[in-house]
């Protein structure tokens, strides 16, 4: 209240003097300098050698702790696709050795603490959040979830049935169909292209979850991050007691995952849905983080399809009103080859016109250098918005852990902006020619072919997808 009154007084005092002051023109404004350096985190090793990144921030009485685990659905046996996903959900959902699932739910929710676990394609995450005063107990539960899960049989069966129901619903949204079918087409023959089916989900037993957990969730296969309102020596002590005291059993043996097979055959895939708007997805395999063209690709992405004034957005949405959502993106692979995908949705009778526009725009960026203005805008945007990757302590520690987890160069973040700044129009053209190959695009269209402006077969031989 005191501050409010103070502010009102200031307001009154200022009245008049600033009234006629000059306003700046946004096209030519100048700003005071702002230097930004990445906040420093501390890396410590727990007793058993597990690395932990710490970043204290006492603004709020909350602590966040995460474990980043080297695991994921790439390790699913083909006949048990869905194993990682179920293990991830049941790590937390299935209770701990000490607590039935229901007891764990009740104790956490009564404290307003959270522990959640999910396994993605090439990593697993377990995260706890808690009010500072509940940290000791929540951290114990977090560590129990990690290392002593119960995998309750009944909860596992519920989770499996939920996954089966999600399968039944996987064709309800045409956009989801398009995304999934393109991923399957790009990564055919690789674990990244495997999608669970009823048969693979039915083939998974509780003992498979336990074995998957034993294999991957071990102190020598994960990184801990801690951020928020903690005391340094106390948290190190607590982490050593909970996580640091766990000894790995046997040697770590991660299965070898083959590289993604190259897959350059173009394809036209069609899935029928009676809708008034077609879903269009197209693309091919892309690059990994170690590609020397990484920075050129980041800039290219902004210009081609990653911003609100990108070429795809400008032509298809802004100029022609043919779509609400349109864009493209290089998903840079961290452990495996990434992808390039372009996407939009347009009214059925503009489907082929929009496909032509998209491929034409993508071809265009390979044929001649981008303009100086496009390059300047893209670079300035990426460089000047860089600091938004560091607005919360939780995201900062996690980012540090991910650099180590995926084996980035230690100076990756520190030099990111200067490397973006160094990208030239020639670099971009070279990268576009090397990494965009429109003649190999796999195209997925979900919609009502009767209403299209031209038959899809005018692009290539159409393979009809059967949705089930």
């Amino acid at each position: 209240m005191r501050i409010v009154i103070y502010a009102l007084l200031l307001g009154l005092l200022n009245l008049g003097c600033a009234w006629g002051a000059e306003r700046a023109n946004p096209r030519s404004m100048n700003f005071p300098p702002l230097s930004f350096t990445i906040p420093k985190t501390e890396r410590v090793l727990l007793k058993n050698g597990t690395p932990a990144y710490l970043l204290q921030d006492r603004e709020l009485p909350i602590v966040t702790v995460s474990a980043l685990i080297r695991t994921g659905s790439v390790y699913d046996p083909a006949a048990q696709s869905g194993l990682a996903q179920l293990t991830g959900s049941q790590l937390r959902g299935g209770g701990t050795t000490a607590l039935q699932p229901r007891q764990l739910d009740e104790e956490l929710e009564f404290m307003a603490s959270g522990v959640e676990s999910t396994f993605g394609s090439d990593n697993g995450m377990v995260t706890m959040t808690s009010l500072t005063r509940n940290l000791p107990r929540t951290l114990e539960l977090f560590s129990d979830v990690l290392f002593s899960p119960r995998f309750d049989e009944q909860r596992f069966e519920i989770a499996r049935r939920q996954a089966l129901e999600a399968l039944r619903r996987q064709n309800d949204d045409p956009k989801e169909v398009g995304d999934r079918e393109l991923t399957k087409a790009l990564y055919a023959g690789h674990p990244l292209g495997q999608i669970p089916t009823a048969a693979t989900l039915q083939a998974i037993k509780r003992s498979d979850l336990q074995a998957f957990h034993r294999r991957f969730v071990r102190p020598d296969n994960l990184i801990i991050t801690v951020s928020g309102d903690f005391d340094r020596s106390q948290i190190i002590h607590q982490l050593n007691r909970s996580v640091g005291s766990v000894r790995p059993v046997g040697a770590l043996a991660l299965p070898t995952i083959p590289a993604v097979p190259t897959n350059d055959k173009p394809a036209v895939l069609y899935a029928a849905k009676q809708v008034n708007q077609s879903v269009i997805r197209l693309g091919h395999l892309g690059i990994t983080k170690d590609d020397p063209d990484l920075y050129a690709i980041r800039v290219l992405d902004f210009i081609l399809g990653g911003s609100f004034t990108s070429r795809l957005m400008m032509e298809i949405r802004t100029n022609r009103g043919l779509a609400y959502n349109v864009g493209s993106h290089f998903d840079v692979g961290r452990r495996f080859t990434g992808s390039f995908m372009a996407e939009t949705e347009t009214r059925a009778d503009a489907t082929l016109k929009v496909i032509d526009l998209m491929t034409g725009i993508i071809k265009g960026i390979r044929s001649e250098p981008v303009s100086e203005q496009e390059l300047k805008l893209a670079k300035e945007s990426i460089i000047n918005s860089f600091l938004f990757g560091f607005t919360s302590p939780a995201s900062i520690v996690l980012q540090q852990a991910r650099l180590e987890f995926y084996g980035y160069q230690p100076d990756y973040l520190d030099r990111y902006r200067e490397r973006i700044a160094a990208v030239t129009r020639e670099d971009l053209l070279r990268a576009a020619r090397r990494h965009l190959r429109p003649e190999t695009f796999k195209l997925v269209v979900v919609g009502d072919a009767k209403a299209f402006d031209r038959p899809l077969s005018s692009i290539g031989t159409v393979q009809q997808l059967v949705l089930q």
Binding site: G11, F31, E165
Partner: protein
């Protein structure tokens, strides 16, 4: 994927309804009202050298007349198109063309309105004329200049959204660039030009196809909400029905703009690495001389009491869903917080009653959500949404949901359930202080809807007073058959699934 989407806010996608207060928020918010009625709320946070700035206008789709449905949202899109000095190479040369475009569009709308009696040849000619004029006008347009200015200066999350109750324009910037925000946003209020109107109207039609027409779940949602209201405009979809969007014109958008976009109908929140004294001076310099306008009038129409259960179904190419609503009070009204408590007991977390009963024990559903919708400024609905698990039907799920509501009428809730909600509120109060954007959202939203952001700081005390008897009373009064609306999504070809 980094992409800018103009969001149409629909209640379904909002997290459940419990508002959040903040320990210490009382001391941290600095408030300033300018002579023209503009309200500024600020919080200093120095976690990172960034700042979030949100401008919320107290006008949303609920304020539209029946021939304007969809205009609040379309206007939100149009206000990205620039001003008399931004977004144009030469406004003086552009202006007469914009006028010809609108005159042609008006003739086209009038002719089309004749329906089967319309002169189709004339329509064709007018369409061609409109297309030609729009093409001519393109030579003057600097495309999406606001975006480019923000982007090159490191802007992040530049966006806007329209809800039933309000319209918000938001951006985060490096802390040294706040003046850019003030310059652009004050110009957007002072000199907007709704150029490229008819191509943007097509974009909104695509948005509608994408978000509703091709999504059976969303189609059920808008049908359900529409069936809940006979008179009150809460029933109409924010984006408008497709035939509504087809009738919208630049003239209508400009009228709406002039009627409502005044500084006294706006609330600004600036949160982050700021010096509040300097921000007050900055906002005064850029926004202080905007003339005040007429306050947004209250929507006077009140929905009559419902006299019997309403049921609607949507047949779609998708698996079944069920949604049940009950009319209830507006945010901040007497007893309204009781519904928040009921929503938490029923639907928040793995220990909630519906999750336990329908998902874990009976396994009738895979998901259950409880929230209020479609807005909060006027009396709204208490909504239960569930995803049935095959082979269980929407009818079975509906019965199970209603059975849990009946239990609330007969058995008092436990003290432990109430205490768990209070513990959760304490945590949320802290958590919500953790992002600039989240705080800016809460401050503008509660200031606009309840009249003061302090709603947030007095909320927990209200909840502490809630008794099991209060909850029983409200459950008995509101969770009745005659006050109920039930919507089901039925898979095409499976016949009627509703009882």
């Amino acid at each position: 994927m980094k992409r800018l989407l103009y969001g149409v806010l629909i209640g379904l996608w909002l997290a459940a309804a419990v508002p959040l207060q903040a320990a210490g928020l009382d001391e941290k918010v600095i408030e300033h009202t300018f002579a023209n009625g503009l309200k500024l709320l600020m919080v200093e946070r120095h976690t990172s050298p960034t700042v979030s700035a949100w401008i919320r206008f107290k006008v949303g789709s609920v304020d539209e007349r029946s021939d304007e449905r969809g205009i609040a949202h379309l206007l939100e899109h149009m206000l990205f198109k620039g001003t008399t000095s931004l977004g144009t190479r030469d406004y003086a040369a552009e202006k007469p063309l914009l006028e010809s475009i609108e005159a042609t569009a008006q003739r086209l709308l009038a002719e089309r309105a004749k329906g089967i009696k319309a002169d189709t040849a004339l329509i064709k000619r007018l369409e061609q004329q409109l297309a030609d004029l729009e093409k001519q006008a393109q030579q003057y347009v600097v495309k999406d200049e606001f975006f480019d200015l923000y982007a090159r200066n490191g802007g992040s999350g530049y966006n806007a959204f329209t809800s039933k109750d309000g319209t918000t324009y938001l951006i985060s910037l490096p802390a040294n660039k706040l003046e850019l925000w003030a310059a652009i946003e004050s110009d957007r209020m002072r000199n907007p030009v709704l150029r490229e109107f008819y191509s943007e109207r097509s974009v909104v039609m695509e948005e509608r196809r994408r978000s509703y027409d091709a999504e059976p779940g969303a189609k059920l949602w808008e049908t359900f909400i529409a069936s809940a209201y006979n008179a009150h405009p809460y029933g109409q979809p924010i984006i408008g029905w497709m035939p509504d969007i087809e009738q919208l014109s630049r003239t209508k958008a400009e009228n709406f703009l002039k009627r409502f976009y005044a500084p006294n109908n706006a609330i600004i929140a600036v949160v982050g690495d700021i010096d509040p004294t300097a921000v007050i001076a900055l906002v005064r310099r850029y926004f202080g001389d905007l003339p005040p306008g007429t306050p947004v009038p209250e929507v006077a129409v009140q929905e009559e009491r419902q006299r019997g259960e309403r049921r609607v179904e949507v047949i779609g190419d998708a698996e079944p869903e069920v949604v049940i609503g009950f009319h209830k009070t507006a945010l901040g009204a007497t007893d309204d917080e009781l519904f928040d408590v009921l929503a938490a007991i029923l639907g928040q977390g793995r220990t909630s009653r519906l999750y336990r009963s329908l998902v874990l024990e009976k396994q009738l559903a895979t998901d259950v959500a409880v929230f209020d919708a479609p807005g909060s400024r006027y009396p709204n609905l208490f909504v239960l949404h569930a995803t049935p698990r095959a082979p269980h039907t929407t009818a079975e799920v509906e019965q199970a949901l209603l059975a849990e509501l009946e239990r609330l009428k007969t058995e008092p809730v436990t003290q432990r359930e109430l205490q768990q909600i209070l513990n959760r509120l304490e945590y949320e109060e802290a958590r919500r202080m953790g992002t600039n954007g989240g705080l800016a959202r809460n401050l503008t939203e509660y200031e606009a809807v309840t009249g003061s952001w302090r709603f947030l700081t007095s909320y927990r005390a209200k909840i502490e007073k809630v008794t099991p008897a209060d909850l029983q009373r409200v459950a008995r009064n509101y969770f009745t058959r005659e006050n109920r609306i039930v919507g089901t999504l039925v898979k095409k070809g499976t016949g009627r699934a509703a009882p």
